[in-house]
């Protein structure tokens, strides 16, 4: 059987740009067709921004890599037009088991909050995620949207000018040059773009290695998540077992700092360990083994003139809590509409500084969360180990200790508190939907709130009427009115609290910009201006 990740999806083709007498200029060039670059391209193409994606490869990611896609990512995929494919293929699990040493200390049933269209997360191999994103790009191309992926196009050099970047590209047929008004570097953790521009990658640097194995079980095996602290088959480290689609189970064995990678990867060393984890009698095939080394750090600044970094190129965190790819989608979500407004001349270029503010804040939050998980999983001192072990010992019989057990906190979108784009708040309304927050989903009859919002500026009237369209300074704000008798319990709890009505101004990335109990037109205009960076 040919594996999905062995099939060329966007093979190299000769482009007329390669024969042009002078470098052809493109409004937006994205380096990297990983999950983040692809999502970025879809968002821009949907908004009719011509976009070119360059990738040195021509296939989806090898091996499962990121496997856990959180609700916010699924909501973003909905807006990008490929949420259903992901969710239909993905696996949802509810039962988790926690082991300490050689014993199970407890198990738990995830009870995600009800009243959301999408589950708290799905498990899905990264190659499927990338495949559906590429398929979405093909569908957009068929609709005539201006988006192109060039496989076998390796970016070799960058030369920055005030208003564009000169991009040198190597192909099987030789090199050629392009000019990009805006360049988005989604070229991964080792970002050649970062290196070519001689930029830093700083922060709290700590390193860890994981042995990652995808195994196909030959018989039934439960759809559960098992997490081991300090198991006999991986002393002083952790291990994780996770179900993925197609009967593939993903195993992460933490290896620590100082290891011989080639030796650890050898099947004769991997298989006995897996047998110890799964049980001697369990039969399986090894599909993919890799060592994943990560460093926890980020770039000091995500934007350098007309070059913007998004995804792993800008920040890297530990895999605990699945914050790698998930936070990258939020980068793309945040950047897309801002770049569109700037390109259209409707917002000042400084609007993009809010991308740096908001997403650097997001990266810091992810690094903090992931450092806390790492401190729990790999205690750094004798005393922190004593406390960690005490928490795990107690967790067997005392429920109170279980929330202290930190095997990675699931990625949730960050609230842009203090963002320069935030407008007025009505503080008596619920805290979780304050300005800066991502709009929380809620049922609306047969439909869902986020579905109704879509991807434009929206004025939401809850328990109140708003005009269907409001035009302001070349921007059309969509009006969504939800009459009082259509307000679901969840919508009330999440958006109204004790109030009878409320008005929310929501950004194209579905983050809340401002809210009022009552509003006057001037206030709306002012809040919209603020949200557009004026």
């Amino acid at each position: 059987m040919t594996k999905l990740f062995e099939v060329p999806l966007y093979p190299y083709r000769h482009s007329p740009d390669q024969d042009a007498p002078a470098p052809v200029r493109h409004p937006v060039v994205i380096i990297g067709a990983g999950p983040v670059g692809l999502a970025m391209a879809i968002d821009l193409a949907q908004a009719d921004v011509p976009v070119l994606v360059l990738d040195d490869n021509d296939k989806v990611s090898v091996g499962s890599r990121a496997i856990c896609f959180a609700k916010r990512s699924l909501e973003i995929f909905d807006r990008l037009g490929c949420g259903d494919q992901m969710v239909e293929k993905g696996v949802v699990w509810n039962l988790g088991k926690v082991y300490f040493g050689d014993r199970q200390v407890y198990n738990f049933d995830l009870l995600p909050e009800a009243g959301h269209k999408r589950p708290a997360f799905i498990n899905l191999q990264q190659y499927y995620c990338e495949l559906y994103l590429v398929e979405r790009i093909r569908a957009l191309q068929a609709e005539g949207k201006p988006v192109e992926i060039r496989g076998g196009n390796r970016v070799e050099n960058l030369h920055q000018y005030d208003d564009h970047t000169l991009v040198t590209i190597e192909t099987a047929e030789g090199a050629y040059n392009l000019e990009a008004d805006w360049l988005i570097a989604c070229d991964g953790a080792n970002s050649p773009a970062r290196r070519m521009l001689d930029l830093d990658f700083v922060g709290r640097v700590f390193e860890d290695n994981f042995l990652i194995a995808d195994v196909v079980m030959k018989a039934d095996f439960p759809t559960e998540r098992w997490f081991w602290f300090d198991p006999p088959f991986n002393k002083d480290q952790s291990a994780l077992l996770h179900k993925q689609p197609d009967g593939v189970w993903r195993i992460d064995l933490q290896l620590g700092w100082d290891i011989d990678k080639e030796k650890e990867k050898k099947p004769e060393n991997v298989i006995p360990r897996l047998k110890q984890m799964l049980g001697e009698e369990v039969e399986f095939d090894l599909e993919w083994v890799s060592i994943y080394t990560f460093q926890c750090r980020r770039m000091e600044q995500f934007r350098h003139g007309r070059v913007v970094f998004a995804g792993d190129s800008a920040h890297q965190v530990s895999p605990f809590g699945a914050r790698g790819a998930n936070s990258g989608f939020q980068d793309a979500d945040n950047l897309g509409w801002k770049l569109k407004l700037v390109l259209d001349g409707k917002a000042p270029e400084t609007l993009l500084d809010s991308y740096t503010f908001e997403r650097e804040h997001g990266a810091d939050e992810n690094i903090l969360q992931s450092s806390r998980s790492t401190d729990f999983i790999t205690p750094k001192s004798e005393m922190s180990r004593i406390f960690r072990d005490a928490v795990l010992d107690l967790s067997e019989h005392y429920e109170f200790a279980r929330p202290l057990v930190n095997s990675g906190r699931l990625s949730v979108p960050c609230v842009y508190d203090g963002s320069p784009l935030n407008g007025p708040d009505a503080e008596t309304l619920p805290n979780r939907t304050r300005p800066g927050s991502p709009a929380v989903d809620a049922p609306m009859g047969d439909d869902w709130l986020l579905q109704r919002l879509g991807g434009s500026f929206t004025l939401l009237g809850i328990g109140a009427n708003v005009p269907e369209e409001i035009e302001m300074g070349g921007i059309v704000v969509k009006g969504v009115s939800i009459p009082g008798d259509a307000v679901s319990m969840e919508l009330k709890e999440r958006y109204l609290g004790t109030s009878g009505k409320a008005f929310y101004l929501i950004r194209p990335d579905q983050h809340i910009a401002a809210r009022w109990l009552d509003y006057a037109e001037e206030e709306l205009v002012a809040a919209l201006k603020t949200a557009m960076g004026w």
């Binding site: 072990d389 005490a390 928490v391 107690l394 005392y398 109170f400 200790a401 202290l404």
Partner: protein
């Protein structure tokens, strides 16, 4: 409200102190450390107030 950490509140201090020592009797240093850690966590959950807990941590660090 800042908790009053100085006033004596234990009704039978000698009895509590004896219980505390008894709990550690016959334990190795490692076992005692583990027992203390569990005790701190149980007490923290019982107190259940982050602000009070922070005051307690500060007081413990000051000696």
């Amino acid at each position: 409200m800042t908790p009053d950490l100085t006033a004596p509140k234990l009704e039978t201090p000698d009895a509590f102190y004896a219980d505390l020592l008894a709990a550690h009797e016959g334990l190795t240093k490692a076992e005692s450390d583990a027992c203390n850690a569990r005790l701190i966590l149980l007490m923290a959950n019982h107190i259940a107030d982050n602000e009070v807990l922070r005051e307690l941590l500060d007081a413990a660090k000051r000696r």
